[in-house]
């Protein structure tokens, strides 16, 4: 049984349908990478999975369980199974790093403060930010903030982690520190769906590449297949443009 199975999902912003039936599936511990031109709907897929953009059709199954997006209350199950890291980090600016990481586990999940605190320190160490626990987001670099966002998402112990272009807002010299943290997670066997323009990184960590355009999946398969021998013209055009840089 796939860990995450998305079947024919449609999503709308207001009256504008931007996902016209998206399907993808990954096994536990696998990483799927969504790639495609700007505006193709990659972020919307992740937002729809998290219940931020309304789903108007199709199914999302996690470990065989159907996710319900019909109400604010029902959607909490999906939000319990998955966590997302946004391109712009979206940290709580008025809270310290530590509070950003521990707020939801203690206040929303009601987990024990001591355990959450210890876990937060472990996660901050994992992303290399142990010494920044008491700093505020505006005192950190973009790469550091993004790593805090990663730790914050992991503190909720998600089964599946969604990463939306976690390096595209960063200066080139900061990209690697964030990618390193993601590599560690991959090594730990975290199931992930990532949106990324770092093709080298995608080739390295992804088990499956999903090429999207115009709100549809055009082609998907292993990184080798898509990068080296794309079957569709659109995919071929896209990869030939991207990989040249």
């Amino acid at each position: 049984m796939p860990h995450l199975a998305v079947r024919d999902v449609r999503a709308k912003y207001g009256t504008l349908e931007v996902l016209h039936g998206i399907s993808l599936s990954i096994e536990a511990g696998e990483i799927a990478a969504l790639v495609g031109p700007s505006g193709s709907g990659k972020s919307t897929v992740l937002r729809a999975l998290m219940g931020l953009t309304p789903i108007t059709g199709g199914d999302v199954m996690i470990a065989g369980e159907r996710m319900d997006y019909s109400s604010a209350r029902a959607v909490r199950t999906a939000r319990d199974r998955m966590a997302i890291v946004f391109q712009q980090y979206n940290l709580f600016q008025n809270m310290t790093v530590m509070r950003n990481v521990t707020l939801a586990p203690t206040k929303i999940k009601g987990w024990s403060k001591a355990e959450v605190g210890a876990e937060a320190m472990r996660l901050l160490a994992l992303v290399g930010l142990s010494e920044k626990a008491d700093a505020y987001p505006d005192q950190l670099s973009g790469g550091q903030q993004q790593r805090v966002a990663l730790a914050r998402a992991l503190a909720l112990k998600p089964q599946i982690l969604l990463l939306d272009e976690v390096t595209s807002a960063l200066d080139p010299e900061l990209v690697n520190e964030v990618l390193d943290a993601v590599r560690k997670l991959a090594a730990e066997g975290m199931t992930m769906v990532i949106v990324s323009h770092e093709m080298g990184f995608v080739r390295e960590v992804a088990n499956k590449v999903v090429f999207m355009d115009g709100g549809e999946v055009i082609e998907s398969g292993s990184p080798e297949d898509l990068f080296n021998a794309p079957k569709t013209n659109r995919a071929r055009n896209f990869f030939s443009k991207i990989i040249r840089h």
């Binding site: 939000r79 319990d80 966590a83 979206n90 940290l91 008025n94 707020l103 929303i108």
Partner: protein, 225 residues
């Protein structure tokens, strides 16, 4: 200028003035606190409520902010007895001031609500926060910080301008006390000079207290004056 200042009589009654100052301070704090509570509820309703509720909030705010506080308090003071409700002068002043502050604070807090970054709210939602939890953990801390200076300024307004209306309906706060005392021996200028000084001391203490509170709790670098 031929007027000869004689402060002796003022010093004799300084204790009474201090009592007035204390009452002024208490009235200011309670009216502001109650107003902040009203403001928080109404600003939430204005942001998340159905249209009828939003409309009613607007009516309240427009009515209060477009009429003088004195008139509103007179309504309670002269109006309520006509319908058989008897409140003390202090209660009329306090309720009037609180309702008045509530409208202004609704406006201030509403601006704070609007300044919350949508990205932080979305982060909160994806972490499983309910609407109430978003208000409590994301919106409130953000508002507290971003509108703190406006809140602190408004507290001073309530403390100085708001409470002194009490003098007109027989509440012995600082201004009222000064009027009472000076009608006895006609040393108006002396009393009001000292009272002005007391107001400055009061607002100075409040400003310093607020600046430190802001600095420690919200990391706001507030200027004192």
């Amino acid at each position: 200028m031929n007027y000869r200042f004689q402060f002796g009589v003022v010093w004799d009654n300084f204790g009474a003035l201090l009592e007035g100052a204390l009452l002024t301070f208490q009235l200011g704090v309670i009216a502001f606190g109650g107003g902040a509570l009203i403001g928080l509820v109404l600003a939430s309703l204005k942001t998340y409520g159905p249209w009828l509720v939003r409309f009613l909030v607007d009516c309240y705010v427009v009515f209060i902010t477009n009429t003088p506080a004195l008139i509103q308090i007179y309504f309670l003071y002269f109006g309520l007895p006509e319908v058989g409700v008897r409140w003390s002068n202090e209660a009329c002043l306090l309720i009037g001031l609180t309702l008045n502050a509530g409208a202004y604070l609704t406006l201030i807090l509403r601006a704070g609500f609007l300044s919350v970054r949508i990205t932080e709210l979305e982060a909160g939602q994806t972490m499983g926060m309910s609407l109430i939890q978003q208000v409590r953990y994301v919106i409130m801390p953000h508002i507290a910080k971003s509108i703190y200076p406006a809140l602190a300024n408004f507290f001073i307004v309530v403390l100085v301008m708001g409470t002194s209306i009490g003098a007109l309906i027989g509440v012995d706060e600082l201004t009222g006390q000064a009027i009472n005392l000076s009608t006895v021996n006609y040393r108006w200028l002396e009393y009001f000079t000292v009272v002005a000084g007391l107001y400055v001391v009061l607002t100075f203490i409040a400003s310093i207290g607020l600046a430190y509170l802001g600095r420690w709790t919200f990391r706001v670098k507030a200027k004192i004056f």
